[in-house]
Symmetry: D2
Subunit: 352 residues, 4 copies
């Protein structure tokens, strides 16, 4: 008998469901009309004061069986869904969002990155330590087919007493060396105030992990059209990383490339934990090229080959690894840069 | 003019809101009636198959403006709210939940823990290393007013080659020493198979961080009425910690005490990160006594005083610290146990 | 002139270095002889009391320029290095250590895992929910070439009110189904007390993440020779994971396979963060086969293909994924199990 | 007999220990002399090339029983200890280091912060949303004795489409309101380019968590003498946090206050995890005043009282909490700001 009771009550619920759907849909349509008007007259469609008044009216009218908190929660969901209707009609949610967009291909000079193009390799020393050191490295990696050469002139260091980079002279040496070997120059920019200087010398502006939410800097590079390589923050969420890319695109610069570089976890065998899922998700959620920084994510030379292979398998469009003529005496990252012989071995193993 | 348009449309929405509330409430009432019948005939009120059918019917009927995913999401919320109605009518959500319950006071012999009783101190060595070592420590701490004395006979160690504890002999020595000084004995149990043995000797069964989700063990101690000190997992969420307590209470044992012992994070200056918010939240969300293990959370002697003070300020009902006659030669936790002189100093500083 | 001074002093240091090396080596030889004698008479080579006495003698004799803390630290390093000499002479450091060992190949019936054998796939439902559900799944996956079929009869669940698994009946159904399709049965064991039962039905004993440091359970399975699939803890370090394997091997069971299943981090887009470096490091540091649990690490169906590819690229010997006839109504893991059609698609994409 | 053998060998070791200590001390003295000369002629005492050569000479001379890795490790420790000798003689390690320094007291106008002064309270809205909103709040909190009032004119937001702050007009309103009520104005600075503007209006420059390693900004505020409130990074280590303070002090600004604001962990019940040990350690390791941001660390109004109490118990010199006339309609941080009534209640409970 109780099964029959249940069946009968379930029918009632089925009817209520459909009636609720009808009302919700009507509400959604009207809300999206309001949103469209507000947009015309320059207001955000989100109005917290109005929401508060609606919730007060609803809890005032509430006679159970839901308690007021449940009513508020249900209607907050309805408000959000209604707002989302408006948003979607007008434009794709975010400039970075995959939606039904094709892969973005960023051109670095004549080198295409992303889409169906083969993965590219960025390599070079952690820091530019002398004209000779960069020059030697550039010539060597270029001779192995590398077209994108990295090297830091401004170094973000935890300690004010550590080597901070050689600044403009380093940029000049690197520019000259890259021109000589026919490569493009990738360098980190640490401050919006250095933008003009960097634009004179650098082909790809790298935003480092510590500046991943330096919004002034993101806005500044967003006002140029120079390709940007945006690292994920030390403990940035995937969502924050994508929103930082959105800052750059919202400023007008479409040439954004994402770079996963490992996140900070409790694990001590590695310097950071490469979040390989983030590589796959960045490809799913955005249309931008995605790199893996194999050097910093593991922080160990013996992981460069497996992390590179894993990154490519997960869909990365490019890999970054550090190469130095003599890692043992490097001014930074001694444990993780490759010397020339190791780099040759690396290229063979990963099949670049 | 557009402001007028908005106002008129907002009125429509106000009416729709009230109509939706009416239908939702009706739906909630019927759903809770179904839940009551199902409970009588022994079924869970959650029926994933039925939910799937309802969602299929709704998306089949959906004509926009919400897309199917939004419809499903809205109705999942409605289903959940409806189920919650039924649940609340019948019983408080969880046995551990605060609800409108008074603080639970756990009696350890004649020592009350929790409620308005003054905070208690558990101390003693990390591991029982010899009859003499435990005896000396017990006499010393008892002379300072400590009524709850800890000491491990079974030690959870990462390595199979580390000192694993002395087992039953250690339990015997400790039982005798505690009886002699008029104190109660707190010791870790690591396996359900050791329960009978432990019940013979131990007054408070401690469940360690590594066994915080050893559900067999939780169920086993839940079948006794012996007081249990349940540590949070190495990286347990507050929710998981409370649910582990629920395992014990669901088995019939009301004498559960929670113990925050620090969580695993990236920070290297401390062994673990004491989550002081967890202490406050455990008091807000449950009615159980809450301890802070000041020794393991920081892993540093110089933090014992401030972490104890902070724990008590956040509402802890008790503190656990390790004391050893000669920490420098201890078989475990050398860096964090206090010697007798330091313990006296500690007592003075924290005001126990 | 100062450059000359420096050169002359550096020569002095060069000589002191060599003299220090000579004395250290002599000390190392004598210490290792003591260690060998102690081993014969049944003592550990580590003697904290002796260390303390030596440090006291040294700081008593210390006249600077090092302060006492620096002297202690230098000599602690020397003590440790000396002990390590003894250890290495007698035996390889750990049973799990790679050292110069070949890859271990674990035979599951006639299925070899590890070494140069092609990677294997473990699949099947999260939980065994009925005879029919398991049977259908087993037949389907076996028809696709799967030889190792998983299914839980004991389920570790955060809540005591969640589905806890069907126990022995489920083991029976699964055993029969696996025999019928010619496959081997992989199932989780949660308690040392269930070992005899599990040995009757199960071909591969899985130790779950929550029991990764349940040392009683590790010791129990170590006393058998049944293949064990050992998951890494929720927030286990790589070192802890390997030491848990060492517990099993130290008990006499060489048939240990490691399984990376993602670690707990702050990231919210994924259920856990697959630590792909851990896969590579487990292969470098041990000689054991390594699996990737692609289902639990990401917790998202859309990550199964990229995480599988990345795992294999990093060197994994096997992959585990969950398959269910109707994931939407599964009693656990609804969002991440594949239905049969999706599984076919998965096999095509990953090339198994 | 073997015990005798051991004793005889131990005597040999005792002699070797003393001989080693003598040579190490001599080596330490010479190394510190070299360091002093190098300092005079302007070189760093760390010379990786020289270290490499010494290690090569040592491993070339190594005949066992230590393997080359052990020899390198032992001597790396000796090199480091020798360098430390030189360093300590010349100057205290870091400007921020406690050493034997007294507590720094930072004067904010006539309000002393740190040392033995009673803890101070910073409060005010998350963001300055209008002249009226800030003015109302300032008048209210000032009437309760608050002398330091916060309010953001530049807001770091994950999304470029979120409210970014009202900029200079907001700074003007706040300046005027603070002057009117006799309070000092605390505001976040996000970019070195905004420094001149902020110096015109702001009494305490706050560096937010996302800019905790924006080294350009740290250097810029280091060139002023304006008090700085430096938050710890989202996942900053305690060491990194202190080194960021060192950047400011190294620039010449001694008026640095540290602010713990919770770190990012896996826990979901709180927005961040307040690291209470970090408060105690910042007091132990530095001489600077330390604040606790009770609002952002928990992200929950119901934690403001316990986290404030815990912070003060652990030694904090000040607390920051957010107050807003109507949190429900705030443009940011709705869930965690207090309204005026709640703030009065808070003051009563924490005893400010």
């Amino acid at each position: 008998m109780s099964q029959e009771q249940i069946e009968s009550k379930r029918k009632q619920i089925d009817n209520l469901n459909l009636e609720l759907l009808r009302l919700l849909s009507e509400r959604g349509r009207i809300a999206s009309e309001i949103g469209a008007i507000q947009l015309q007259i320059g207001f955000s469609s989100y109005d917290p004061k109005r929401e508060m008044e609606m919730l007060q009216a609803l809890t005032a009218a509430n006679e159970g069986p839901f308690d007021d908190a449940a009513v508020k929660s249900l209607f907050k969901n309805i408000f959000q869904a209604s707002m989302a209707v408006g948003v979607k009609k007008e434009k794709p949610k975010l400039l970075t969002s995959r939606g039904d967009r094709q892969d973005t291909v960023v051109m670095i000079g004549d080198v295409p990155v992303g889409g169906d193009h083969p993965p590219v390799l960025i390599s070079g020393p952690c820091a530019i330590e002398s004209e000779e050191q960069f020059s030697m490295t550039a010539e060597f990696v270029a001779s192995r087919g590398v077209r994108l050469i990295r090297g830091g002139a401004f170094k973000p260091r935890s300690s004010p007493y550590s080597f901070q980079g050689l600044g403009e002279p380093a940029l000049k040496w690197a520019r000259a060396a890259c021109d000589r070997v026919g490569a493009y120059f990738v360098a980190e920019i640490m401050d919006a105030g250095d933008l003009d200087l960097c634009l004179d010398y650098v082909d790809v502006l790298q935003i480092g992990a510590r500046n991943s939410q330096n919004f002034s800097l993101l806005k500044a590079v967003g006002r140029t059209d120079r390709p940007v390589l945006l690292k994920r923050g030390l403990s940035g969420t995937i969502e924050e990383w994508i929103m930082s890319a959105e800052y750059i695109m919202a400023g007008g610069n479409p040439n954004v490339m994402l770079c996963e570089r490992g996140i900070r976890t409790y694990e001590k065998y590695t310097r950071n934990t490469l979040d390989i899922s983030a590589v796959a998700l960045a490809k799913l959620e955005t249309h931008l090229p995605v790199f893996v920084d194999a050097t910093h994510s593991g922080g160990r030379r013996d992981l460069l080959v497996p992390l590179t292979k894993a990154g490519l398998a997960a869909g990365a469009d490019g890999i970054m690894v550090e190469v130095h003529p003599n890692p043992a005496v490097a001014l930074s990252d001694q444990k993780q840069q490759m010397d020339f012989e190791t780099f040759d071995d690396y290229l063979t193993q990963v099949g670049f």
